[in-house]
């Protein structure tokens, strides 16, 4: 892909993201206008403008905006993690959800919550990180020695995520408080309804740092195109690079899942769609994944919260409905081009 095409794709993504944020902040039952949103932001930034009525102000500042920003961060982070995992495992079907990392993070967060080890966003994230690392180690153990074929990696991810989903359900039902049913839905299907400024801040710090770290490793990720040995002969230390990037993606995924539950298939769909725009070189692919990932999940979440209003469907249901057919298409296309 030409340099100009790449620049265009990234500029387009940026514009689209700004427009989606504006649109998603306005869409909803309250009937607010973009001007109301701007006024509220300005008022909270300390600018001398008149505030809206407390109810509208609260809807925008306490509900809409944190949710919209969290959605963008989760979409961006999961998409970049997906692209990185696809490069490292040389498997076009890799994604934090399919590899079981998201399920592990859910289990870890739930365990922290239920065992009463802490309740803050940081404690949840720490539990989620532990769970995601454990799940990832399980996946590697199931795959066994040597680099697994695409099928093995996916199968290992599927069984491990089943295991951790079962554990999450077990822990939640065992806790059996009034919220347990809702809890299962949240952790297994993902929801962004509980967004707060605290979770936005934590996710912003971790996701942005994680994405920057992945971006800095763009050349190394390119070097993995033809496998570990080819990467080594291009001067990349494969084991060290894998260790660092697996840890970064597990940590990023964990913090995002602790805030949003396990939302599947974002990391699969977005990188594949974006490659059609930017090509496969990671210098262009990763920033574009961040932008379009944010746009994609924002669109999905806005539909999830408004399409069946006043009911809200978990956003993970929607991403799965889009993601499973996408998975099938990618798998079939793979078969047609034997290595």
């Amino acid at each position: 892909m030409s340099r100009r095409g790449t620049a265009l794709a990234i500029a387009g993504g940026l514009l689209l993201l700004v427009l989606s944020i504006a649109a998603a902040s306005v869409v909803g039952a309250a009937g607010l206008s973009p001007a109301d949103v701007l006024r509220t932001v300005a008022a909270h930034a300390g600018l001398p403008v008149e505030r809206l009525a407390p109810l509208d102000d609260g809807i925008i500042w306490e509900l809409r905006l944190p949710r919209v920003l969290l959605v963008v961060l989760v979409g961006a982070g999961l998409s970049v993690c997906g692209a990185v995992l696809q490069a490292l495992t040389r498997n076009p079907l890799a994604d934090p959800y399919l590899l079981g990392i998201s399920s592990g993070a859910s289990t870890g967060a739930v365990a922290v919550l239920v065992l009463g080890l802490g309740a803050g966003a940081a404690a949840l994230s720490a539990g989620a990180f532990g769970g995601s690392l454990l799940a990832f180690c399980c996946v590697l153990a199931v795959i066994g020695r040597g680099s697994g074929s695409a099928v093995r990696v996916v199968l290992a991810g599927v069984v491990v995520s089943q295991l951790f989903s079962a554990l999450t359900s077990l822990v939640v039902v065992w806790a059996a408080d009034a919220q347990s049913t809702r809890g299962v839905t949240f952790w297994l299907l993902g929801s962004l309804a509980s967004a707060s400024w605290t979770s936005v801040a934590l996710c912003a710090v971790v996701a942005v740092t994680g994405m920057l770290a992945c971006g800095l490793a763009s050349s190394a990720l390119d070097a993995f195109t033809f496998g570990r040995e080819a990467a080594a002969s291009l001067g990349i230390a494969p084991a060290r690079t894998e260790l660092i990037l697996f840890t970064v993606t597990a940590l990023t995924t964990a913090v995002l899942v602790a805030a949003s539950g396990a939302i599947g298939f974002v990391g699969l769909i977005v990188p594949h769609a974006v490659r059609a725009l930017t090509g496969s070189r990671h210098h262009a692919l990763l920033p574009a994944c961040a932008l379009y990932g944010g746009v994609f999940l924002l669109a999905a979440d806005t539909v999830a919260r408004t399409a069946f209003a006043p009911r809200e469907i978990p956003v993970g249901v929607l991403t799965a409905l889009i993601g499973v057919p996408a998975f099938a298409v990618i798998m079939r296309r793979r078969k047609e081009t034997p290595a």
């Binding site: 971006g215 050349s219 033809f226 002969s233 490659r275 290595a339």
Partner: protein, 261 residues
């Protein structure tokens, strides 16, 4: 610039795959690595490339132990063309050749610049691939992929170039074009080859492996004798020395093992 293997050994499950090979690689020359299937050619090449760590002995590059040199420093001077390469990633031919510029770029973030692009295009021209620049890797034939991979190695600007049976998948015209390129380049080349006649015709120096051991080393006329060919390959060959001193081989169909004529 010296490139030297000293008593290099590598074992798999207690069985030596490469067994105490000591050799000086001729600087700037074309060295052919010969031997039957399973004789340890590929393993020895990967040891020379530093992709495997020897279980005994050492590979020395300018007197330094290859496995103690930083990977990146090695990649700036040594390029490797593996036997089979595959990827699911959708890349153009130019993208693939640009991978060879990675060791020459800044470690972090830096994307391919104008200088990288001109190096990559020059490598494509040298391999006769300029017209394929925008083609997608997945649409290439086996031979085209092989040549693109060689262009990628040249874009790495190596002083040492290691190739594992690079003539596989190539038709005879492209085999000759490749060997001409390898023979005329000032780079130190070590290449595994199957075709003994092509090896005899092009290489300055041959290394003949058998069951992991170096059986013979030297100019083609010394290494390819009726005796060594029979001993290593278990076939009889009639060897004619040409005026240039390069032998040519004609194989006799009956296997030695199945008995005399």
């Amino acid at each position: 610039m010296t490139f030297h293997a000293h008593d290099v050994t590598w074992t798999a499950q207690g069985r030596p795959v490469v067994d105490g090979i000591t050799v000086d690689i001729t600087p700037g020359g074309l060295t052919g690595l010969l031997g039957p299937n399973g004789s340890g050619k590929s393993t020895f090449l990967r040891l020379l490339a530093g992709l495997l760590r020897p279980h005994g002995g050492a590979v020395l590059l300018d007197g330094h132990d290859l496995n103690r040199l930083p990977r990146r420093e090695v990649a700036r001077r040594m390029a490797v063309v593996a036997q089979e390469v595959s990827t699911d990633v959708e890349l153009t031919v130019l993208d693939v050749v640009l991978l060879g510029r990675i060791p020459h770029r800044g470690r972090l973030a830096a994307s391919a610049g104008a200088g990288d692009l001109s190096h990559a295009r020059r490598a494509l021209r040298r391999c006769g691939l300029a017209a394929l620049e925008r083609r997608r890797w997945s649409t290439l034939s086996g031979g085209e992929r092989q040549r693109v991979n060689i262009a990628r190695a040249l874009a790495q600007e190596p002083t040492e170039l290691l190739l594992d049976e690079p003539t596989n998948h190539l038709d005879i015209a492209h085999q000759l074009a490749l060997l001409d390129l390898l023979a005329t380049t000032p780079v130190t080349v070590v290449t595994a080859l199957h075709d003994l006649n092509l090896a005899a015709q092009y290489c300055d120096h041959l290394l003949l492996l058998h069951e992991g051991r170096l059986i013979a080393a030297g100019p083609p006329g010394q290494v390819l004798t009726e005796d060594t060919v029979e001993r290593v390959y278990h076939v009889r060959a009639e060897i004619i020395a040409s005026a240039t001193g390069r032998p040519s081989l004609r194989f006799l169909s009956t296997s030695v093992r199945t008995g005399p004529l």
